[in-house]
Amino acid sequence: MKLEIKNLHVSIDDKEVVNGVDLVINEGELHVIMGPNGSGKTTLAKAIMGHPQLKITSGDILLDNKSIVGMKVNERAKLGLFLQFQNPIEIEGLGLLNFLNTARGAITNKPLQFKEFMSEVKSTSAALELKDELIGRSLNHGFSGGEKKKVEILQMRVLKPKIAILDEPDSGLDVDAIRIVAKNVESMRQDMNMGLIVITHYSRILNYMQPEFIHVMKDGKIVKEGGKELIREVEESGYNV
């Protein structure tokens, strides 16, 4: 699968937040978008997923050369897009397992037998070193920041997207948790040839991943692109690269 973003302009309440972004993500590729707060990274991620409050004023988003602008959010997910939220939503009363099973059924149209589904969830949560009791609770309700991020990765592994956008998967995580999350994401990319966009402020998580493309975003635009060497440049000079 190929995700292509062409000269994308996105507004919120008539204020342009993304102004002219071009990106191409092929399957199996790992792209990193770095940039200061307010540079439009999260807005770009949400626009790709189809957030209803964002307005695409010009440009296009293509999946395998077909425009998905105007497509419903759930239909984008069915095509294989996944967004890991920077601040995952808490829904008290909605069981995580039930939510995940419903989501899986909606995406695949083939709900798993509960036993098979549980076995997959349990092995994935063990790999993420998530406490067992969390999977029996309400979706993200009362979870720590780190637990929420791990649950996002758990969802990604169960839903098996073709292209995933991870919005700050490292924020709120301690060093060990960053390593565990990065390892899981990398293994999934390799096992499933999944395309990845990782949005981050920090390079720590990238120590455990093998990114091929680095993009620096500022004021709603990609201002610099390069390979892994760009990470060191950002570390040394900040975002004034």
Binding site: M49, H51, P52, Q53, K72, V73, N74, R76, A77, K78, F82, L83, F85, P88, I89, I91, E92, G93, L94, G95, L96, N98, F99, L100, N101, T102, A103, R104, A106, I107, G136, R137, S138, L139, H141, Q155, L159
Partner: protein, 418 residues
Amino acid sequence: MSEAYDEFRRDALQQYDTLPYELNDLYKKYFVEVHLPSETDLDAARSSGRRKEVEAYANYIEERTNKKFDVVISNSFVRNSSGIVSIKRMDSLSESELRGKIFKNTDNKLVAYVNANSRDVVFVKIEKKTSKKLSIMVINEDNLVFQVFFDIGEGAFLDVFELYASLPGTGALVSPLQEFSVHKDSKMEFTMLNDGNAQSQLLNLSKGIIEENSEINLNFIYNGSGITKSVGFFDTQGKSSRINAAETIYGTREQKFDINTYVINSKERSYTRLETGAILDGGSYCLLKGYAKVERLTRGAFSRVNQRGIVLNDKAHVDALPDMSIDYSNEVSATHSAATSPIDKEALFYMESRGIPETQARKMFVASFITRYLSNIQNPSAKEIASSVILSRIENDDFGVINTVTPKGIWMTSTANK
């Protein structure tokens, strides 16, 4: 008919004529009115001759819910297979029984109405240090006005589940007046689920006294009926006594709700907690009137009133009017809060981003909201039936029809609100 009853009834009728509809200054401006049938209407209802229909419908509900109810009450059919229940006529009550009533005629105009017009009284008596369960089905076929007295002996436990349903094709008032005496060191679990049809009205009047070291866990689930009005007073009259109450309101179409509950801390180290959640769609309207009162000399008391409303469209409306009165301010913990908002669009976006269509995401959101409050129910069978009735309604957009109870709702979680 005793002389004592005659006098009691005369007083009730007089209070009904003189008392205003609402006594509380704040709530005088905000209330939903129920249509109270005349004496002639009530007499006609009591001779409706629908015994066979009601009996058949009770059997049908038992089949659907897979539960045999201990007591079935209606105007034309009463079944009692419980050893802890006796059913009497109001006009046969003795002077001491009438004097011992917790709800006085002067408490409220509506109380005076029900006291004056009740025919049947259900007595539930639990002996000291015993533990009992009781299920009651109330079928409203035509203007049913009655009373229930719960008397929980010292050190005893009673778990009650009440299900209110309407006979299909009928529409009328059902008005229970319920009194709870929870004596020292005892415990009561109480769940009331209303699934009356759109033509029916529910007027639920309840008053409870909780004695020392005792506890009551209350669950009111207002799902059905065109109009629901509830007035409740629950008072911790003993040291270290506890009231834990959850009220769930789910409204659609033109349903109207007026939910007025008073929780009172009267003694030291008493605990009261009232959690109310209303979720409304269609042109539904709800008034939430939770009132916490902390009396003098209640050191170590805890009081909390929390009201939450969610409206699913621009036409539905929730007015939350929490109120609190604290007469003793030292070493008392008291909070109240209220919030009403539309459905959380970020939550919908999150669910949709996982492939779930918007319609289903909205249903899941409604179910999750209600589950938070249903999780307070401790009786597994009551919880299962309540969850199933709500889920069936979310799926089919219908109420007043008991569908087959499924073992577990797929969207429900057993550990919410812990």
